[in-house]
């Protein structure tokens, strides 16, 4: 969207998704959470925006350091869809992490499909988080620690340690999975957002174990009037 000059305090997120609807959604979610947002529809455009272009032989080329290089606007985080034609979100993640100028930028992957091997592959490649689509406001709360960490520590080593921890956490949550969770009545909104936080992770692993198609299609509201 607009490439206005960075407002100094605002956290700038680059959102990448080939779906127009999902771009609109993620943009709204991020803006509601007070982030500055730019959306692009492909990994290639994302890399261009980040100032990274490929040489003819396909190897990434960090632009020569000049005041006019493309990265006029600083990007503090990239959030990208996994399934995209051409360059996938995973490919984009790899390119960012392989780039000396970009690898410190946290990358979040979104996917409509819950595939544990995909999740762990992305986390191992350096993704900070993995969100199942459709992404919700409560999911964005999970970004807060990364933002705090960003501003406090620029230490690579400490960041690396998060990843194996995270896989452990996901596996821990899987063991604690309660199948009854779905049948409970709706709690009030704040608590519900809390539950969403936990249940998202639980959901990721839980559904990978179930024999049903892996989709978050269960209705949460069963007939309660919800003109919110």
């Amino acid at each position: 969207m607009g490439m206005a000059a960075t407002e100094s305090q605002q956290f700038h997120v680059l959102a990448v998704d080939d779906s127009l609807i999902d771009r609109k959604l993620i943009e709204r979610l991020l803006r509601t959470s007070s982030y500055q947002v730019t959306t692009v529809d492909s990994g290639t455009k994302a890399l261009e925006f980040l100032g990274l272009r490929e040489n003819h032989d396909g190897t990434p080329n960090t632009p020569s350091v000049s005041p006019n290089n493309h990265q006029e606007v600083e990007v503090n985080m990239v959030i990208t869809d996994y399934c995209m034609p051409g360059m996938t979100g995973y490919d984009l993640l790899k390119k960012i992490k392989e780039s000396s100028s970009l690898r410190n930028i946290p990358v979040v992957i979104m996917s409509s499909e819950n595939v544990p091997s995909r999740i762990s592959r992305c986390l191992e490649e350096g993704a900070e988080e993995f969100f199942l689509k459709p992404v919700r406001l409560s999911d964005l709360n999970r970004l807060k620690p990364h933002i705090m960490k960003r501003s406090k520590l620029k230490d690579e080593d400490q960041k690396q340690q998060v990843i194996p921890e995270k896989i452990e956490n996901l596996l821990e949550v899987q063991k604690q999975h309660q199948p009854q969770e779905e049948a409970q009545p709706q709690p009030p909104l704040e608590q519900q957002q809390q539950n969403n936080n936990n249940s998202n992770k639980r959901k990721s692993m839980e559904q990978s174990l179930s024999p049903e198609p892996t989709d978050r299609t269960r209705p949460r509201y069963s007939g309660i009037a919800t003109v919110v």
Binding site: S19, I21, K24, L25, R28, C83, T217, R220, G223, V227
Partner: protein, 150 residues
């Protein structure tokens, strides 16, 4: 009961029925929560994008399935997109048929695919009508001076 209160009640009941009957799921609530004074048309905008997207995809699907030699990967790609966008707006029944459709694609089952396509067209048509009705009711309520508390 004054007119506005009555309209509010009707809107509430109508919305509730859409959830009850499975046309919409919680994601639709999420959309409504993202709407506010700074983005008063957000839900309508997103849903309109969905309508446009769905119609385009249904056309593509019809064409692809009419081919002598069906390209199932192409069909699957389109269904995948439709599944994604219906999921993003909470159009639950459409999304569910997409899942079944994807399975038929994997099996390269032509009959199954054709059946699914018919089902999707029906479900899409239904949810479109329902949502258009919902938006109309909201508009009328606002015009009468009422509001929907979000």
């Amino acid at each position: 009961m004054d007119v506005v209160t009555q309209m509010q009640r009707q809107l509430l009941q109508y919305t509730s029925s859409l959830f009850k009957e499975g046309f919409l799921d919680d994601q639709f609530n999420q959309l409504q929560q993202l709407q506010d004074e700074s983005n008063p048309e957000f839900v309508v905008e997103v849903v309109t994008l969905f309508f446009e997207d769905a119609e385009r995809l249904l056309n593509e699907l019809s064409k692809s399935l009419e081919q002598e030699s069906i390209d199932f990967r192409r069909v699957d790609a389109h269904v995948h997109q439709l599944k994604g966008s219906s999921s993003s707006i909470g159009a639950q029944r459409v999304q569910r048929v997409c899942i079944a459709f994807k399975n038929f694609c994997e099996q390269q089952n032509v009959e199954g695919c054709l059946k699914s396509l018919q089902e999707i067209k029906q479900e899409y048509s239904l949810v479109k009508t329902k949502l258009e009705t919902l938006f109309k009711m909201e508009k009328q309520l606002f015009a009468a001076g009422g509001s929907v508390s979000r």
